[in-house]
Amino acid sequence: MIFKIESLSLKAKIRVLERDKLEADLSNMMELIHEIQFVGTSNESVYSYKTSEYRDDDPVNIIQDENFDPFLNASHVEDNMFEVEGVIESD
């Protein structure tokens, strides 16, 4: 089987059409999420916020870049990253 690579990319960006609306929504969601601060305040003797060191064995900590893109491996900058000769797609 012959593969013809049309193009490759390391990163594909996420398109944001309504930036203002998205920012307003995120702000609203973060407002709710920040209610988390009240969890520990009802009984401070049993709970206080202590953020632990990064755990190297936690796979999520490979995310060091605030511009982290979960679609890092999504290299579809064209409709077809691979075009396979001799294969016809049925409708």
């Binding site: 193009s7 960006k13 998205l22 929504d25 999420i33 988390i36 969890v39 632990s52 982290f68 900058v77």
Partner: protein, 488 residues
Amino acid sequence: MIKPTHLQLHEIKKILADGQISPLTLLNEIYQEIDEHQNLNNYVTLTKNLAFQQAEISYERIKKGNARPLEGIPIGVKDLYLVKGELATSCSEVLRDFVAPFESHITKNLWEKSGAICIGKLNMDEFAMGSSNRTSCFGPSINPWSIKNGKELVPGGSSGGSASAVAAGTCFAALGSDTGGSVRQPASFCGVVGFKPSYGRCSRRGMIAYASSFDQAGILTRSVQDAAIMMDQMIGNDPLDATSAKMPKPNLENANISMHGKVVGYPANWMTIIDESVVNAWKKALNIFADLGAKIEPIELLNFDSYLSVYYLLTTAEAASNLARYTGICYGNKTKEDIGSAYNKTFELFGEEVKRRIFTGLHDLSSENYNLEYNLGLQTRSYIKRQFTDLFNKIDLIVYPSSPREAFALDNVFQNPAESYHEDVFTVLANLIGSPAISVPIGYGKTGLPLGIHLMSEPFSEELLISAAKEVEAKADFIDFLRSYHDK
């Protein structure tokens, strides 16, 4: 005379086993029922070829006297379970034409070991993100109780199609999934039973993931006994799911633990801030337990926004991670629109709510926010779990409403995302701590629509939970949709 399709699962089970109706006849009647209820938009795929093949096998087994526990019983399946060779879309444009390459652990057991019949795939919120079934790419599922005031109502979500189908009599039980209340809240809205076991009780293999440390299979039925019968067949260790629990299997069908002397806790500080009709239904449930000899104790829980915040912080992070697999290469369609070569063409197809949760999750996981948000969320969840471990040393059961209100209108508009997230306000707790929980119809709200009562117990105490639910159901005097409108 009650139609066979309107019977409860344990009733039809007996009739099938006695040979009074053949699985093939019953299946034809169920498909006729589905056809008559197309307006509810509950089924997104009908699996007729598979169903009739399974019904033939059931017919032969019953004839030979070697019926399996659910032999010939038609079951609906939420469209996030993989049923091999059938569409599995999670009601998203991204997976609209995805055909399951293998069978989920739960459905494999239900068809092969238990003899149930797969009649079709049920509508749901896209990737299980939503509480009204309005984020489905197939359009919303409709609550059959809409007939009451002539206005279209949501069935709740995300397992809205499952709850609506069970209530309307188009299946005897429906598989759902529960990440933050997706089985229990729609059960409350549609006047059916919704049961989520402890995290780890059921294998998640072959269920399309939303937030892996919260997701758990669940079941919707027309009675507690039916939920118990179904869950007995769904529970079990799966060595191919690392989060599957190696615990002895309970016997829920025969669970019968006395409530006498048990301690039932209720968060008294929540009672002052919810609608009076919901509080009345809550008090009715507490009185039932008191009459059974249980000790009713007020407990102090945090403001429910605190629990909701931890839930949304962690689930959005897990969703961002899980949904990163839809790249258009192995999984996922791509938009046909010309959006420029630099942009992700699969992400374009996600609905607004899914995109919003992915963005939030990415924000929480970024290195700048990781410690103060995601990491803090993990720690806070641990704290809440410890708090409830202590509480369950003193309390056997926690009881409060499944939802702060009745089903709302399909055209109801939420002002912002956080307002819509408050639909899950009572149910997320069980997912945060991994407890089993069940919603049982308890009565009616101020507009005469169903209300559910929410029972929760410590992890892996399903037998106690089901015993309690059977007692509440027996004394609730609730009349379900079929008996209210069809079988008077």
